[in-house]
Symmetry: C2
Subunit: 269 residues, 2 copies
C-alpha cells in the first residue's frame, strides 16, 4: 500500500527547492483515520483553509486532498500528515506571485502510548523553552516548529510525557503537541493562541459539542497551581488527564472523564 | 557542473521524512563564492557551529562542508546555500537521541540587483509584519522563516526594495534579508538580535574590521526618524545605503561609502 503521495503521485522525496524545505513555508494537518474515515476532517479542513488565507496559499480542492489522504490511510487506526507547501520558485524569501502549491500526504503510525495516557494520565514538566510572543503566524499549524522540537528534546531528556509551554511574557500557551484545559473554581479555561501556539483541531471539536463550556482566557502559573483538573487534547491522541506538573500532583477529574466519553462517542466511532 | 549535493552525492530532492522539511529543523548559510573562494567562510562557519551547539546538531567536519560547497560553486560569482538538517527519524517533534545530520549544498544565482543597490541605494518600507519577540532561536539562521516570507511578499506588493522589521514590542530588529546600521549623532548603531532576528555574517565581518565602531543598542522608530545615514548589510549583497524609508528620504553618507571601500578591499577580492 502506498505510504506517500506528492501531488497525487507515489513518492518518497520532495524537490530540494520546495519552499517548505527552504523556509518552513507550509501548513500541515495531522489527521486521525479510523477504518478509512477521518471524523475530524471538517475541523482540519476549516483550519487549513483559514491558514491558506492568512499565508496567501491557494487551497486545493477539498475532495482532492481528502481522497489523497484516504489513499494512504490503511488499517483500523492510522495518522496521515497532509502538508501544503508554497511549492518551488520565487526570489529567496519572496514567494512567486502565483505559487503552485504542492500537496504531500504521508502515512504515520498511530501513537503507541495514546490509549495508556487516556486511561492513566500524563506526567508533565514545565518547559524551560519559552515560546516567542506576538507572532503573526500564531494559531496556525505551519512548518516553523523549532521551538516545539527543542521543547520535545528537553522533555524527553527529563523522561516526562509532555511539557507545559509558557511564552516569553510568562503566559501559559499550550503543551508541546496538545492544547491545554484547566478546570479551576468550576470553570474550564484554555489559553488564547492569538500571540503564540497552535489553535488545535481537537480543542475546536470539543468547543463545538453541545453542553461544553470552555472559556479562552489569559493563564499563568498561578492557575496551574490552583487547578482542580488539568487535561491536554489533540486531534489524534484525544483528551488525556494530567496527573502531575513537576512536583505538583493532580487527580483525574470528572470533567475530563465526561469529555473523554464525548470523544469516544463522537470521534472514535 | 553539478548544482546540488546531498551528503556529498549529486541530487535534486530530499527525503520527505527529513526533519528540515517537516519542522524547519535545520540551519543554513547563504555563502558568496568568488572564483571558487568564500572570503567570509570563517564567519559563516563560526555561526553555523554556534547554531549547532544551541540546537543540539552535530556539526560536520569544516573541511568536508567547505569542499562540498566548492564542488557546486562555479563562475566568477555565485551563491551557495549550505543547509544542515537534523536528518530523519525521531518521534514527531522529538528528535532522535543521536541524529544523523544531513548536508545539502545548492548553487544559487548571484542577486542581479546587488551592484545597483550598492551604488544607488535602496528604498525601504516599514513592514506591517512584526517579528515575534523573546524567541529562544533568535540570532540563528534556522529554517523557520515564515515571518520573512510574509514580509517579503508584502514588500514586493508595494514595489519596495526591502523593508524594516520591528518586533511585537515596537523595537527595530532588521531588514527582511539584511541587518541594519543607523548612523545618528556621529554614532553607528545596530539593533540587538537577542530576542528576534538573525545575527548576520556580513555585520559580524564588519564589526571585526579595525577602526569600525558599531554599538548594539535598542532602537525604535525614533532613531530611524533622526538618522543621518541608514544602511543594510548582508554577506552576499554587501553594504547598501538606504535612500528612503516610506516617505522619509536619506542621503548616502560618508560612513556607508567608507565601509563599502572596506568591503571591496576585504571581501570582493
Amino acid at each position: 500500500m502506498v505510504e506517500m503521495l506528492v501531488d497525487g503521485q507515489p513518492g518518497e522525496s520532495i524537490p530540494a527547492d520546495d519552499r517548505g524545505f527552504l523556509y518552513g513555508d507550509l501548513l500541515f494537518e495531522t489527521i486521525a483515520f479510523h477504518d478509512g474515515q477521518a471524523p475530524l476532517w471538517a475541523w482540519h479542513w476549516r483550519r487549513l483553509r483559514a491558514g491558506c488565507e492568512r499565508l496567501g496559499l491557494t487551497a486545493p480542492a477539498e475532495d482532492l486532498l481528502l481522497e489523497e489522504c484516504r489513499r494512504v490511510a490503511v488499517g483500523k487506526r492510522c495518522v496521515v500528515r497532509a502538508t501544503l507547501t508554497r511549492g518551488s520558485g520565487g526570489r529567496a524569501y519572496e514567494p512567486p506571485v502565483e505559487p503552485a502549491c504542492r500537496r504531500i500526504v504521508q502515512r504515520r503510525a498511530w501513537p503507541s502510548d495514546a490509549d495508556r495516557f487516556r486511561q492513566e494520565g500524563m506526567r508533565l514538566v514545565t518547559s524551560p523553552v519559552r515560546l516567542a510572543s506576538g507572532s503573526v503566524i500564531a494559531g496556525l499549524k505551519h512548518g516553523n516548529r523549532l521551538e516545539q522540537v527543542l521543547a520535545a528534546r528537553h522533555c524527553a531528556e527529563l523522561g516526562a510525557d509532555e511539557a507545559l509551554l509558557y511564552d516569553a511574557g510568562d503566559r501559559l500557551v499550550e503543551a508541546i503537541a496538545s492544547n491545554l484545559v484547566i478546570v479551576v473554581d468550576g470553570r474550564a479555561l484554555t489559553p488564547s493562541t492569538d500571540s503564540a501556539g497552535v489553535s488545535g483541531v481537537g480543542l475546536a471539536w470539543l468547543c463545538d459539542q453541545p453542553g461544553v463550556a470552555l472559556e479562552t482566557v489569559e493563564l499563568t502559573a498561578r492557575e496551574v497551581d490552583r487547578a482542580d483538573e488539568i487535561m491536554v487534547i489533540n486531534s489524534v491522541a484525544g483528551i488525556r488527564p494530567v496527573t502531575a506538573v513537576d512536583d505538583h500532583h493532580f487527580a483525574i477529574g470528572a470533567t475530563c472523564r465526561a469529555w473523554q466519553d464525548l470523544w469516544d462517542a463522537g470521534v472514535e466511532i
